[in-house]
Assembly symmetry: C2
Homo-oligomer: 369 residues x 2
């Protein structure tokens, strides 16, 4: 991206929120630089779009040297086209003008294999426990955990990831130099030192309310998939799910008690089509590289015959996995009558444990159940 | 159905299990009466099917007067075509030869609006609690609850239904005069007095192991849909789900803690496509009459504006539900800047609370969220 456009984007981020439709419209039609030009001239863009509000701020914004501020904060400013810019952000309905990033992690590299883990601020012990287990599991599978540094599920996700020496990315609603919530300052500082802090809000910018919802689209856009662990029906975490869904990313939810208000949002998401997931393997299967991350099918104990009724076990143990046996043979070995043997074979077939071939019966591989 | 075929079916039920493929094949090709004839003659059916095993039992079976036994037990014998026969049973891969029914309920009428509620024998307090609440809710919606009278979820489903003066059907693995498990004898007797006991096993027949799995197909075939509340990964309740799925009936599962072994089966079912349900309204929506049973969408508190960020609330309250407002008007009333107003409107739109029309903005009906 040319230097001028880069400067214009950074400047624009001090003038207008990226969800300002009028500005987005002018940018789409005339480019970022034109917006600043129109605002400086007379506040009128072609088509009668009123940019007067921006004009009053341009002078002040131009007096700010954001590159220098970034340098002082140990941060960097990314714009579309930069190697570290996560490409998928451009697919958002309202892409950020630019991103401030602080921390040693390369954002594009972290995003490559990442999962957003989000949820309620007022999480329960169950939600925190599941979040921690899930994140430790995801770290072991090489995933970066993306979240919003909020109280509850977000903070637990970051903390568990750090405790497992994993990489974590926090997307903030305010500037990268404005830790919020304040009580999480130490956590946010740790993320800055080990992973990446990300914000579209310029340094010094307050975590204003609307920015929390807007921030969620960046979480969804950076991560390859989004998991909601616990959420009320109207939780902000559900907006992250909506953004991820709009981007065509896997959306996943952890179930819980139907009696918990904080699982209602998760259950509603599953009913809307989110995948129910119970562990990191199932997340990896949806989000990971195809072929690398197939979750093992959930079985009971390894020994398949355990727990089968006596008749079925007696028949099953005489079946071979890769060559078939005729019914008479199975009957003779099992000591059952023909009727019992046939019944047992049909039941085993019904349970996916045996299959009938042209010349007899054989065991089905356990994984095929 | 002709009297001869009826007699042959009842007789056959004492000779062969309905999942005996060889007998099913001869029945399909030559009819029920022919099977008995071949067995009596020389034990050979056309095509070389060996019915010799049946022959040895025919004489003994013919000495039993099942109609008289039924009369003595206060039971009746149903065969396909009887008004009380639930037609959908004929769609099973292995339909029962006949059914013994005891109790005042008309089986076809009860089946008309019915849900199977099944699950683990070793249920948890959570599973029992949810089962009871669900069944009471289903009774209030006019549903019959079908289950298997086993320990755990089954027994809780029957008990909760009876306690709410609802109708319940128990499908037994043994004969209708063989209450099993014995500890549930009193419960089973109560179902016999108020609803219906059903079995394909002739009176006196033991609840043999294979019959429990076979019984599950009748539960699935009688009920219009099946809910599993709690189940281990290899629970028999999952076979009921499989039969219901094969019949094209709604299959539903109640979620729970991902840390509970007894929710693993439910979660696996949801991952395989079963609908996650959390209450009776959601069950009724899937199983009930179209149009009568739409579940209300799950909302937070009734007042939509509650819990919205201040800016959004200020904008939302000046929107009208059925006529639109231009942005300038909303901006003037809300006291926000144009940027803030537009941002809030977009956020409200994103949350489904407002929509942009050709001539301005209006509230969206709450139900449309």
């Amino acid at each position: 991206m040319r230097h001028e456009e880069r400067r214009a984007r950074v400047l624009l981020s001090r003038l207008a929120e990226p969800y300002d439709e009028r500005v987005q419209q002018v940018v789409a039609e005339h480019g970022v630089e034109a917006v600043v030009g129109y605002a400086l001239r007379d506040g009128r863009a072609p088509g009668g779009v009123d940019l007067a509000r921006l004009a009053t701020r341009v002078e002040r914004a131009r007096s700010v040297d954001d590159e220098r501020i970034a340098g002082r904060l140990g941060a960097r400013i990314l714009v579309p086209g930069d190697p570290e810019w996560p490409d998928d952000l451009d697919q958002l309905e309202h892409p950020p003008w630019c991103l401030w990033v602080a921390g040693p992690g390369d954002l594009a590299a972290l995003a490559e294999r990442s999962v957003a883990v989000v949820g309620a601020r007022a999480s329960t012990a169950y939600g925190d426990h599941v979040t921690a287990g899930l994140c430790v599991d995801l770290v072991a599978r090489g995933f970066t955990v993306v979240s919003g540094a909020a109280f509850g599920i977000d903070a637990t996700a970051h903390r568990a990831t750090l405790s497992a020496d994993g990489s974590t990315v926090a997307v903030l609603a305010g500037g990268v130099d404005v830790p919020y919530p304040r009580a999480n300052t130490e956590l946010i500082d740790r993320i800055r030192r080990t992973g990446a802090l990300v914000s579209e809000t310029p340094p010094g910018g307050a975590p204003a309310r609307m920015r929390f919802l807007a921030r969620n689209r960046i979480i969804a856009g950076v991560a390859r998939g989004t998991v909601v662990v616990e959420a009320g029906l109207r939780s902000g975490a559900r907006s992250t799910m909506k953004y991820a869904r709009d981007l065509g990313r896997p959306v996943m939810a952890v179930p819980g008690s139907v009696e918990s208000l904080l699982s209602q949002g998760s259950h509603a998401e599953i009913r809307m089509g989110a995948e129910l997931i119970t562990d990191g393997a199932e997340v990896a299967e949806l989000v990971g590289r195809i072929g690398d991350d197939l979750a093992p099918p959930k079985h009971g104990p390894v020994q398949v015959a355990d727990g089968l009724p006596e008749d079925l076990r007696r028949v099953w143990q005489w079946l071979r996995p890769r060559s078939s046996s005729v019914v008479d043979e199975v009957m003779a070995r099992s000591g059952l009558s023909l009727r019992e043997t046939l019944g047992a074979l049909r039941q085993l077939e019904h349970q996916g444990l045996a299959e009938e071939l042209l010349d007899g019966w054989q065991r089905r591989p356990t994984g095929a159940r």
